[in-house]
Symmetry: C2
């Protein structure tokens, strides 16, 4: 197996009802790579950072089996910065600041050592950049998973639709699924979206869990009810990292195995939200992850005999 993760590595400043951070390290690729590395190593990262990004963080990633040869360091620009404030329900947030910086002209580079890629996870980015990564791989990966967001549906819909034709799995949230399809019913939305390219659609519903659609099959993974959601930033990326990490580890991309992958993604995401930024993932142990998987099994299992 060989897994590439593409996305931002950045700074975030976050305010939630529970507190406020200064600039901390965030970015889709940071969360995805760190989450995936619990299950599959190496994880090969493609990203771009500025001179202000701490070498220490890249080193920490390396120590977790994340290769950073494909992370460009721009010595005359600053890293991407996002600042946001969450509402009390933690499902909605206001963006306070977005500074593109290095991201404005991000031209992803795929090192030769990455060309053996079998699993490709495209974190949320301009669809054109996601597309260029696919094109720069000499051989099409066995599985391409793509994350995106409503912003690209608003400003780059054609580009987005072109990119959708090139991927196997799309992950978006329920509102985005409704916007992309023009359908309120998620069953109808899924039918339309899986007709746009991706054969598999994952609809993320935050505290309400996640749905996997493929042909006429549906799988509904619950989210673990939590005492407290401290900071939801990165939960979706952590979910995606766990999902593709589990598939890469097991080498099995069947619908049945995707169900398991979704449970691993959900379990990892449930840790992510317990502290600010990647703090909880930094300290997470394999034993804690296994224990949480057991909690998920207990959460949903029931035993009915039907004729």
């Amino acid at each position: 197996m060989s897994l590439i993760v593409v996305g931002t590595m950045a700074f975030d400043a976050i305010e939630t009802p529970f507190g406020k951070t200064d600039k901390i390290i965030g970015g889709a690729a940071t969360y995805i790579a760190q989450s995936a590395s619990f299950l599959a190593q190496p994880v090969k990262a493609v990203s771009v950072v500025g001179y202000d990004f701490p070498a220490e963080k890249l080193q920490q990633m390396n120590s977790k089996g994340i290769h950073t040869e494909g992370v460009q360091i721009k010595h005359d620009e600053k890293s991407f910065f996002w600042s946001g404030k969450y509402h009390l329900d933690m499902n909605t947030r206001d963006t306070l600041a977005t500074e593109l910086n290095v991201l404005a002209n991000f031209d992803p580079i795929i090192p030769d050592s990455y060309q053996d890629c079998e699993y490709l996870m495209l974190g949320n980015l301009t669809p054109a950049v996601q597309q260029s990564v696919i094109k720069r791989l000499h051989r099409r990966p066995k599985l391409i998973v793509m994350d995106t967001m409503n912003f690209w549906m608003d400003v780059a819909l054609d580009e987005l639709k072109e990119t959708l034709k090139m991927v196997d799995v799309l992950t978006i949230n329920d509102e985005e699924a409704r916007q992309l399809s023009g359908e309120y019913s998620l069953v109808k939305a899924a039918r339309k979206i899986t007709g746009m390219g991706p054969r598999y659609l994952i609809i993320k519903k935050g505290e309400h869990g996640a749905l996997l659609f493929h042909d006429n099959h549906v799988f509904y993974a619950p989210a673990l009810p939590l005492e407290e959601v401290f900071d939801p930033t990165g939960a979706g990326d952590t979910f995606a990292g766990g999902f593709i990490g589990y598939l890469a580890k097991t080498g099995d991309i069947s619908f049945d195995n995707m169900k398991n992958a979704i449970i691993y993604g959900s379990a990892l995401a449930s840790f992510c939200v317990e502290k600010f930024g990647t703090e909880r993932l930094d300290s997470l142990t394999e034993q804690e992850l296994e224990a949480r998987i057991r909690e998920f099994i207990n959460l949903v299992q029931f035993d009915i005999d039907v004729k």
Copy 2:
């Protein structure tokens, strides 16, 4: 087993994005009894209707194993009437009219033939009326399940809290759980509410499924993703009817069996919303119900081996 269902039998006029009805038969007890009767018979109904309520409907109920000896018929008053309009998301609705009529002075009568009651389902009503039913039973039932709504939290909180002390299972929706507990997190809300009396709490989340809390145990039952929700009226009552009907049928009130009961409740509710009023329940067959239970199993089952 002997099962009593208490609640309204009434007329509804419903408007949804899919259409509009004239006065059709509704009411909590109608849905609960009809749903429960798929699993356990007889179902003994306690309710009150006016001179305008069709004898034909009571007869239809009788033919489905629903006893109506405890349904008072007031020959000089009209039946309870509710009219509402659902918004596009089907999760919110405006009440257009509420005419209490017979409900204004509802004084429930428990026939002697009902005194063997082991399972009691209190549909949404004034908490004082729910309480009086419990007090009029000579022997406390093995299990008392109670449904209520935000309206009683607004206008009769003390009475509601007194009644809560007398029941085993409470079913409310997520917003109501938050209002009753003053906690946003459903885990914290559940801890507070199960401290108010009911040892079991079911939180209904509509299209997002239902949660069962008891001590430190949680069970999350998904809702089946549906092509179309035609009319959500009665879905919560149908759910409750399936829940208590399954428990009464199996005679097992363990946490594990309550999980199964919730799946049966969810399956029955998923039929209810397919047509206006009780129309879909009227035509439902046992084979269709069993097939849907299998759909629920496929929807959530996964197979992970953990150490």
